[in-house]
C-alpha cells in the first residue's frame, strides 16, 4: 500500500512538472510510431487486438464509470457489431440482388473476388466498405443498447447485473439459432450456426483497390484501430465535460436529487446505454474483419467480465485509467497466462482454461487493496472513501432511498 501511495505521489509530481498537452503529444506520437518499434510480428497483432479492447473498455466505461449502471452483458454489443460486418461484408447472403450481390466502395481484392470479370464486381453477398459499416454498426448497436437498456431502467444493483448478464447470454444464442430466419422471420441463414461467418471482407480505403494491410504487414490495421481509439477517446472526453456528462454523474450520485433537478432519468440512462453500446459495436466490426470470422464462440460471458475487469482495474470513470487497465489485462491475457501455463504444467492443469477465474481473482485483490482502480477518477476515489468512512450512515441512506424510491421514471 505504501508503494502504491508513493507511486501516486510520484505521478502527481511528474504530471505537475510537465503540462498535460505535452504528455498527450508524447503519448500520441509514441502510439503512432509504435509499429516501427516492434515490427510486424505477433506483438503488433496483440497490440492491435488490445486497441479494439481499449475501445470496448471505454464504451463500457460510459455505462459503468460515468452513469454508474452495472452491465454484465456488454459482449452482446460486440456480437451485434461483429454480425453487422458479417452480414454487410461477406458472402453470407448469396441470393441478394439475383446472386450478383451489392457492392458499395468495397474493392475486388477486399471481397475475395476470384477474377475480375470485365472490371465489374459481381461476387455474391452484400459488400459494403468497412468504414461505412463501422457507422452502420454504431447506429444499430446504439439502437439495441436502448432496447436492452429500457427494460432494466427500474432495476439497480444486483438485479441490474442479473438482467444484463442474461442479455449478454441471449444475444449470442439468438445469432447461433438464426440459421433459418432472424427472430423467426424469413428463412435466410443469418449466422451459419456454430460455424460462424467466414471469410469477412478485408479493409480497403474507399478510393483504393488495394488491401489496406496483409498478414505480412499489419501496421495499417494497427493504425486503423488506433484511429478508432482516438475517435473513441475524443467522444468520451467531449461527453464527459458536457451537460450530459454532468447529468450522468448526478444520476450516479443521487437519482432522487437528479430527478428533482429536472434531469430526465430515463433519457439520461438510455443515452449512456446507447453510446456505450455503440462503441461495443464499433470495436466489434473491427474485430470481425481483423479476425476474419464472426463466430458465436467468441461471445462468451467471460468476455463481458474481461472488459468489465479492464474498467474496474484501470479505474472506473477515468478515461486514462481505463486505457491502462485494458492494455494491462489484454497483454496479460495474451502473454501472462500462457507463461503461467508452463509453470502449472507439472500440476496437470491448463491455466488458460481457468483464465477468467484468474481475472476474477485479480478483481478480488483489487477490491481489497485498491477499489478505486490503478488510476482512479478523483470523484470515484472520493465516493469510495466516503462510503468507507460513513459505512454505518450509508445503510441508513439505503433505507431512506428505498422509501424515497417511489420516484417514478
Amino acid at each position: 500500500m505504501r508503494f502504491l501511495a508513493s507511486l501516486r505521489s510520484g505521478r502527481d509530481t511528474v504530471t505537475g512538472m510537465i503540462p498535460g498537452w505535452v504528455l498527450a503529444v508524447v503519448l500520441i506520437v509514441f502510439a503512432v510510431i509504435f509499429p516501427y518499434l516492434v515490427g510486424s510480428g505477433s506483438f503488433l497483432d496483440a497490440s492491435t487486438q488490445t486497441l479494439a479492447y481499449v475501445i470496448m473498455a471505454l464504451g463500457l466505461n460510459i455505462v459503468v464509470g460515468f452513469a454508474g449502471l452495472l452491465d454484465l452483458g456488454y459482449v452482446a454489443f460486440y456480437a451485434i457489431g461483429a454480425f453487422v460486418i458479417g452480414w454487410f461484408g461477406s458472402q453470407q447472403f448469396p441470393d441478394v440482388n439475383g446472386g450478383k450481390g451489392i457492392h458499395i466502395l468495397a474493392s475486388d481484392r477486399a471481397t475475395f473476388q476470384p477474377k475480375l470479370s470485365g472490371g465489374r464486381l459481381d461476387i455474391a453477398g452484400i459488400h459494403i466498405n468497412f468504414f461505412i459499416v463501422l457507422f452502420i454498426a454504431m447506429a444499430i448497436t446504439a439502437l439495441w443498447g436502448v432496447l436492452l437498456g429500457a427494460p432494466t431502467l427500474r432495476l439497480r444493483g444486483d438485479y441490474l447485473a442479473i438482467v444484463t448478464l442474461a442479455f449478454g447470454e441471449i444475444v449470442p444464442r439468438v445469432f447461433e439459432n438464426s440459421t433459418s430466419g432472424l427472430f423467426g422471420i424469413g428463412s435466410t441463414d443469418f449466422s451459419h450456426g456454430r460455424q460462424g461467418i467466414t471469410p469477412i471482407d478485408k479493409i480497403n480505403l474507399p478510393w483504393s483497390h488495394d488491401l489496406l494491410y496483409s498478414d505480412a504487414n499489419l501496421k495499417p490495421a494497427y493504425w486503423v484501430a488506433l484511429g478508432m481509439v482516438f475517435f473513441t477517446i475524443f467522444v468520451n472526453r467531449r461527453l464527459r465535460d458536457s451537460r450530459l456528462g454532468r447529468a450522468w454523474i448526478a444520476v450516479r450520485e443521487d437519482e432522487v436529487a437528479a430527478a428533482s433537478m429536472g434531469i430526465n432519468l430515463v433519457r439520461t440512462k438510455l443515452w449512456a446505454y446507447a453510446i456505450g453500446a455503440a462503441f461495443g459495436g464499433f470495436a466489434g466490426v473491427f474485430l470481425g474483419t481483423y479476425n476474419n470470422t464472426v463466430n458465436v464462440d467468441q461471445f462468451e460471458f467471460g468476455f463481458s467480465v474481461f472488459i468489465l475487469a479492464m474498467v474496474i482495474v484501470g479505474g472506473m470513470g477515468n478515461i486514462w485509467g481505463v486505457i491502462v487497465g485494458a492494455v494491462a489485462l489484454s497483454m496479460m491475457n495474451r502473454y501472462g497466462l500462457p507463461q503461467l501455463n508452463s509453470l502449472s504444467e507439472p500440476l496437470g492443469f491448463d491455466v488458460t482454461s481457468i483464465s477468467f477465474g484468474i481475472f476474477g481473482f485479480f478483481l478480488l485483490i483489487m477490491m481489497v487493496l485498491r477499489p478505486e482502480g490503478l488510476i482512479p477518477s478523483g470523484r470515484r476515489r472520493l465516493e469510495l472513501r466516503e462510503a468507507e468512512i460513513e459505512g454505518s450512515e450509508d445503510t441508513g441512506a439505503v433505507g431512506d432511498m428505498s422509501q424515497m424510491y417511489e420516484v417514478r421514471q
Binding site: 467531449r238 461527453l239 448526478a250 443521487d254 432522487v256 430527478a259 428533482s260 429536472g262 420516484v407 417514478r408
Partner: protein, 272 residues
C-alpha cells in the same frame, strides 16, 4: 376522523391566503399501506408570497412536499400549478414546469464542486444536444460558458464564496446555501424549502430570511417553506398552514396561527 375534521372546522376559522393563485392543491392525500400520511389537504400558494408549512414531527410535511414535486404519487387529489395540472407528473417534469426544491436531509452531488452542482440545476434550461456536445459547436460553447457564469452569479447571490470547493467539503451552512442555489438555477416560479435553517446558527438563519425576502421582491419567486424555527416562520411568512397527523388543522396569518388553540394543543399537547 371525520369527527375531528368537523370539530376542526368548527374550532378554527381558516382563512385562505389572498392574491393571484400560483399553485392550488385540492384534496391531496397520501396513504402508505394503512398509514394516512397526508389526509385531504387543500392548499393555495399565491404569487410572490412566502407560505409556511409547520407542524410537529411526523405531521406529514415532507410527504406533502414529495407529493407536490412528483417524488410520490398522491393517492387522491389534484395539484394545479400556474395553469397546468402537474398531479403525479414525474419529478423532472414538475421541475421544468417551474417548481424547485431543497431537501431536509441535504442531497447535494457530493463529489462535484459547488459550481458544478449549480450547473446540474440548470440542466432543464440548457439546450445543447448530444451531437452538439460531441462536436462542441459554437452554440454549445457559448451556452456552457454562459452557464458557468450564471452559476457563479447565483452562488454569490446566496452568499457562497468557495465556489470550486467540493460539495462534501463545505460546512453545513454552506451546503444548505448550495442546495438553494442549485434549486434557483432551474429558474423556478416556486421554491420549496424543506427545513433550510436546520443546523444553522442564528446569524445564518437571519441571512437566509433576508435572502428569501429578496428572492420574493427581486425575482418574484414564491416560497413554500417547511420550518421549525418559529422566529423565522413568524417573521418571514405571509401565510402559515399547520399540519398535524397529516391533516390541515389551521391556516392564516402568523398572528392568527399563533393564537389558534388547536395549534397550541398540537405543539404543546392537550391540557386536559
Amino acid at each position: 376522523m371525520s369527527d375531528q375534521q368537523q370539530s376542526g372546522g368548527a374550532a378554527v376559522a381558516s382563512s385562505p391566503p389572498v392574491g393571484e393563485t400560483l399553485m392550488e392543491v385540492t384534496g391531496v392525500s397520501k396513504v402508505f399501506g394503512g398509514l394516512v400520511a397526508v389526509n385531504d389537504v387543500n392548499f393555495i400558494v399565491p404569487r410572490k408570497a412566502i407560505v409556511s408549512l409547520i407542524g410537529p414531527n411526523g405531521a406529514g410535511k415532507t410527504t406533502f412536499f414529495n407529493c407536490l414535486t412528483g417524488l410520490y404519487r398522491p393517492t387522491t387529489g389534484r395539484v394545479n400549478f400556474d395553469g397546468t395540472d402537474i398531479t403525479a407528473k414525474r419529478p423532472d417534469i414538475v421541475t421544468q414546469a417551474g417548481i424547485a426544491r431543497t431537501f431536509q436531509n441535504i442531497k447535494l452531488f457530493r463529489t462535484m464542486t459547488a459550481t458544478e452542482n449549480v450547473e446540474v440545476g440548470m440542466h432543464p434550461r440548457l439546450r445543447s444536444r448530444v451531437t452538439g456536445m460531441i462536436l462542441r459547436t459554437p452554440f454549445v460553447r457559448r451556452e456552457e460558458k454562459a452557464a458557468r457564469e450564471r452559476a457563479r452569479e447565483i452562488l454569490s447571490s446566496v452568499g457562497l464564496k468557495r465556489m470550486d470547493e467540493l460539495a462534501m467539503n463545505l460546512p453545513y451552512g454552506d451546503q444548505r446555501r448550495l442546495e438553494i442555489a442549485r434549486a434557483l438555477a432551474s429558474e423556478p416560479k416556486l421554491l420549496l424549502l424543506d427545513e433550510p435553517t436546520a443546523g444553522m446558527n442564528p446569524q445564518e438563519s437571519e441571512e437566509l430570511r433576508t435572502l428569501m425576502e429578496r428572492l420574493r421582491t427581486e425575482q418574484d419567486i414564491s416560497i413554500l417553506l417547511i420550518e421549525h424555527d418559529m422566529k423565522v416562520v413568524m417573521n418571514v411568512s405571509d401565510h402559515i398552514t399547520v399540519l398535524d397527523h397529516g391533516e390541515k388543522i389551521a391556516e392564516g396569518s402568523p398572528q392568527e396561527v399563533r393564537q389558534n388553540p388547536r395549534v397550541i394543543e398540537a405543539y404543546l399537547g392537550s391540557q386536559a
